[in-house]
């Protein structure tokens, strides 16, 4: 049993890298996308309120798996063909961008409006208001939520095993069906995901402890 576990470790190592590659890329794209979406929403409050609401409603109202299969199996009918890994990254980025946009929205709303008005009265420039007043407080608010969402992205990436992306879950299932051993490979799979998600939440805690303005004052 122990020997078996040691022989399958290298394939898990490779699979962790695939899971990380897919989720990190998707999370970065999702954060950037969510940030831009929220910025556009703030800039064009009136005209974008409806499309923004529709986008968030659509993404948050359906399972990630159904978004993945629409993009991977459905879009080729419209002439958009992607590899399984590409479809996973694109769908996961799209999916998480809605959640990230909502996090940024809540973070921006968490800064009391009176502070900005006071700053304006004191003649502080728009850029300085953003940099010194809004950004630090919004970042402190958003950081734990962002970490939580990144953890969700890592967990959702397991669904990509259904379209045969060779990430952790796919690799474990392959080993299970090739060796007919269940407990070892699955135990290792659970440990691998648990360590990944634990690492993200520890990292977020470290970051917020090290950087003074990220420490929540309230």
């Amino acid at each position: 049993m122990m020997n078996n576990l040691i022989t399958i470790l290298p394939s898990y190592g490779a699979a962790v890298l695939v899971t990380l590659e897919v989720s990190v890329l998707a999370a970065l794209l999702g954060i950037a996308g969510g940030f831009v979406i929220n910025a556009l929403r703030l800039r064009f409050t009136r005209s974008l309120a409806l499309p923004y609401g529709f986008f968030v409603w659509l993404i948050r109202g359906t399972p990630y798996l159904s978004q993945l299969v629409v993009i991977y199996f459905g879009l080729p009918a419209l002439g958009v063909t992607m590899s399984a890994v590409q479809a996973t990254i694109v769908s996961l980025a799209l999916y998480s961008s809605a959640y990230f946009a909502e996090i940024f929205r809540a973070a921006w709303n968490s800064v009391p409006h009176g502070q900005l008005e006071a700053a304006q009265v004191f003649g502080i420039s728009r850029w300085a208001r953003f940099r010194v007043i809004e950004l630090p407080q919004a970042a402190a608010f958003a950081l734990p939520l962002l970490a939580n969402q990144v953890i969700l992205v890592i967990k959702e990436s397991s669904v990509a095993s259904i379209i045969t992306v060779p990430e952790l879950t796919m690799t474990a299932s392959g080993i299970v069906s090739a060796t007919y051993t269940y407990i070892g490979p699955y135990a290792l799979l659970i440990v691998a995901y648990w360590l990944l998600t634990q690492a993200v939440s520890l990292l977020a805690q470290q970051v917020s402890a090290r950087i003074p303005f990220l420490r929540k004052t309230s």
């Binding site: 359906t62 199996f73 459905g74 699955y186 799979l189 659970i190 998600t197």
Partner: protein, 220 residues
């Protein structure tokens, strides 16, 4: 059988889709209800004096929140069968989803439990209520009322998470979408139609939650 006019035939797929939606709904409802009671149990374990019980509760919550639902599902489907206990897909799915949402619900309910003023519990002790009576007649009703919005959104999360049970051949909404996709060769339409059903279910639930919480706040 290449179906050129999927949308024209969409009506004929409705019974199948409704059947799948029903499976998704009862499976999720079962998981949420079982998860609610298990969640209360896990919360009471986590605040118990016994170091062993509170550690067990912490491990459960950390494991189920730190790993994907899909993995939990595969474990509950394949590991029992390896040990000689063949669980039907629907049973494995119900167990995995219940234990998963129990971990989340224990956290949600914990917030509610902690918001109950200490004096109420002390009053209950004074009135000679047993620990169990205090829990079910004094704490739980208030906890449910204060955490209802979070519980509704957890319910929506469970419905969405339940889409992965299609991989262990439970004929839920997602699985019906797959079947339609492979029988009509129209994956875009079939999967989009299934997604619309999910959207309908989650939207209805979220509206119900909003209406109820508005009604509850007005009642005070």
């Amino acid at each position: 059988m290449n179906d050129p006019d999927f949308l024209a035939h969409a009506a004929s797929y409705l019974p199948q889709l409704l059947q799948g939606a029903l499976t998704t709904l009862w499976l999720s409802a079962l998981a949420v209800v079982c998860g609610f009671f298990a969640g209360i149990f896990i919360y009471t374990m986590s605040v118990s004096q016994s170091r062993l019980l509170s550690t067990a509760a912490r491990v459960h919550v950390s494991m189920f929140r730190g790993t994907p639902v899909l993995v939990q599902l595969l474990v509950f489907y394949y590991v029992p069968s390896a040990l000689g206990l063949d669980l039907p897909g629907a049973v494995a799915a119900a167990i995995a989803l219940s234990l998963n949402t129990a971990a989340y619900q224990s956290q949600i309910l914990g917030v509610g439990f902690r918001s109950i003023p200490r004096g109420q519990i002390e009053a209950a002790v004074t009135f000679n209520l047993t620990r169990r009576q205090t829990l079910w007649y004094i704490e739980v009703p208030q906890v449910v009322r204060t955490t209802l919005p979070a519980l509704v959104s957890e319910m929506i999360d469970v419905i969405k998470a339940s889409a992965v049970v299609s991989v262990i051949s439970v004929t839920d909404l997602m699985r019906v979408g797959q079947q339609l996709s492979s029988s009509t060769y129209r994956p875009l339409e079939a999967y989009s139609l299934a997604a619309c059903f999910y959207l309908g279910i989650t939207t209805l639930l979220s509206i119900t939650g909003h209406v109820y919480s508005r009604y509850a706040t007005r009642r005070g």
